[in-house]
Symmetry: C2
Amino acid sequence: MTSKNQEVPYKIYLTEDELPKYWLNMRPDLPNKPAPMLHPGTLKPCTPEDLYPVFCEECVAQELNGADSLVEIPEAVRNFYRMYRPSPLVRAYCLEEILDTPAKIYYKFEGSNTSGSHKLNSAIAQVYYAKQQGITALSTETGAGQWGTALAMACAYFGIDLKVFMVKISSQQKPYRKAVMETYGAQVIPSPSDTTAAGRKILEAMPDTGGSLGCAISEAIEVSAGTAHSRYVLGSVMNHVLLHQSVIGLEVEAAMEKYGIKPDVIIGCAGGGSNLGGLIAPFMSKKLKGQADTRFIAVEPASCPSFTRGRFAYDFGDTGQTTPLVKMYTLGSGFIPDTNHAGGLRYHGMNSVLSQLYHDGFMEARSYRQNDVFEAASLFARSEGTLPAPESSHAIKAAIDEALACKESGEEKTILFGLSGTGYFDMAAYMAYNAGTLTDDIPSDEALARGFATLPPVE
Amino acid sequence: MTSKNQEVPYKIYLTEDELPKYWLNMRPDLPNKPAPMLHPGTLKPCTPEDLYPVFCEECVAQELNGADSLVEIPEAVRNFYRMYRPSPLVRAYCLEEILDTPAKIYYKFEGSNTSGSHKLNSAIAQVYYAKQQGITALSTETGAGQWGTALAMACAYFGIDLKVFMVKISSQQKPYRKAVMETYGAQVIPSPSDTTAAGRKILEAMPDTGGSLGCAISEAIEVSAGTAHSRYVLGSVMNHVLLHQSVIGLEVEAAMEKYGIKPDVIIGCAGGGSNLGGLIAPFMSKKLKGQADTRFIAVEPASCPSFTRGRFAYDFGDTGQTTPLVKMYTLGSGFIPDTNHAGGLRYHGMNSVLSQLYHDGFMEARSYRQNDVFEAASLFARSEGTLPAPESSHAIKAAIDEALACKESGEEKTILFGLSGTGYFDMAAYMAYNAGTLTDDIPSDEALARGFATLPPVE
């Protein structure tokens, strides 16, 4: 198939005893620390007690922990990880050959579990901590459905009740995702719904909205906040989620070390940032310590361009403006993106650590339009076999562009990207792309201005 | 999670240099050879020339090769295998714990490629041989859609045109399967269709039929047979397909040898027999040579019970009665099973080698009803994470029953089953099961008699 030296196998798997025993927290290595999370009422930095009514205590501790580089992975979580990890680090020999590029392309494939994505890495950790604390129910939101599925799987495993608010447009595009969550015992509610005050308020203002992650978050928080038995869990954006996802990058690092591979460019799609942040964690820490000069590229949809057209400002995490304020790249909590099939990337904000890294020039960002992304997805599917998630396909598109640039320049760069999930529940999107009917809108400056107008007046 | 000794990892992966370089043909080891395939006109044993108008020459050679135990896997096929193989051999620690059984349960998981099943193992081989022969187009049938998807992936990889006749009821239950095949460039036609004489004949007799694999085979053969540029390919039943699928069992054997594991019972679901035949190949050869006393169990749906209620007789492979005659366990080519969501198991016949092995007492068979199978599937999904295909869930049900029998008897048996695929495109079935609306009919004796009446009068 390829004339290249194939001493590196198609897929590198770690053995069980090579699997990470600690998660990696990037924050201690940042030269400029992310601004503290602020209480929305007092505008003072959040204390752990401020967050306990919403999140599990251990997640709060991890969220606010900027000091410890390493956090031990609990044994029960490592046991669950062993059911579906390590994920393979794949050398994309066939894609390289089709592109006729001197670049070496690797991808870390997180999609070969039933949730279909990396989300399970944090879901199982958060459910474990809830169980430890005596919590019996959880609530969350889901966009594309991958997070909701992952959480349903984790809750089924530990015997915890789950209520999932699913972005309405996604629940319509993906009825079978809903069915998977229900098979794992979760209750799935399209959002905005009339079951919460936040949902009813949004429905009143925009009865025909397809919803957004921001709306769904408001609803999911509302049903848990302040209750004794239930807590809210979030699948991205938060620092403790990035911490759990560092297992991705740590496995890559260990696998690459076995074969003496050093990545020149690392690429990940960025919605709330958990997949990207997890993938880059150990490599970014090395860069921040001056031990490597890796390039990092965050890729987002042109329809929801938090990095590339957003502002670095304090903002709410949800549309209902109930969460603590986070300093991040944001389009404003009132921004509602045009229809886009990468439901997992339809979020107005971005993790605060990644925002700081981008702001300080340690990471690049770019955006792509939907049709270009699906073109890359189809090429990848046909050459490498796996049908990718629309979200992950943003990273594929950037990796292909980088590899083609190498073809132009003759450079033999090593490119690593995160294949965060599969597209098996996204076939409506592929059908639209195949039929040439995929909408491909990007927000006007006016639409962005309307979003920015919802930013709170906080410096 | 479990108190058992965990020296065996959750998942055993072979390294690339441990992957099989040869497929294994069971036929040389059979004490009674399968009866020869007969030409439907002359009723004489088929010659290679009889089959060349339909199948690729190399597949014909393999089909008729009862002498060679080992057949080399071409390098191009091994390269493609490396994109998605080895598949993991998984120790079902969590399922064991939930069942509280002393049994050790292993499963070989073939579902972590985009086709979602083992079918890709033979698809890529058959497409490779077609390409070698200068064939530019292929036609086939698909039931659940797994074979069609696998073949679409293989055809996309080697640049071959593909026409897929998809059992109508499956194409209605699984529109997204169709979309996956189309994304890989295949043309998908619900069967019976009005594009072939065979399809029109069946539609005339039964305008409302949901179709069957037998019908779809007739149509797929018709469009290729006798043409210069196109050939027909089949995803199961045939001996050359079982040969390619032996890669499953050979990987299991190598993985088990690394850890000194010996299976006492091996279980597989059986539609046409390719997954089962591939899984058991090396172990059955050992049994036939007197080197092991492994039990083998074929599991089929009660709605289409070829082994457990069928006859061992010469029969056609297709409803249109155009194929050579094969001596096999069959319900008659005119048998059309009740609606059942295990589309891959809705075939009236069974591979001839497996039929001979069953007839000679080297293998057991049992059937299960649909609701019991989905109950096992849900338990498996919740404990082991992976959401199984309805077909594979027949094997899960049998493995659970065997493990519970061990609990009863206190025996620490080692149980191996084939998890041939995932259920991600079968959510309509899971939705029906969750809602309690799954039909669960089994054929009456009269329905069976109508099928047997279509058997040809050949001894």
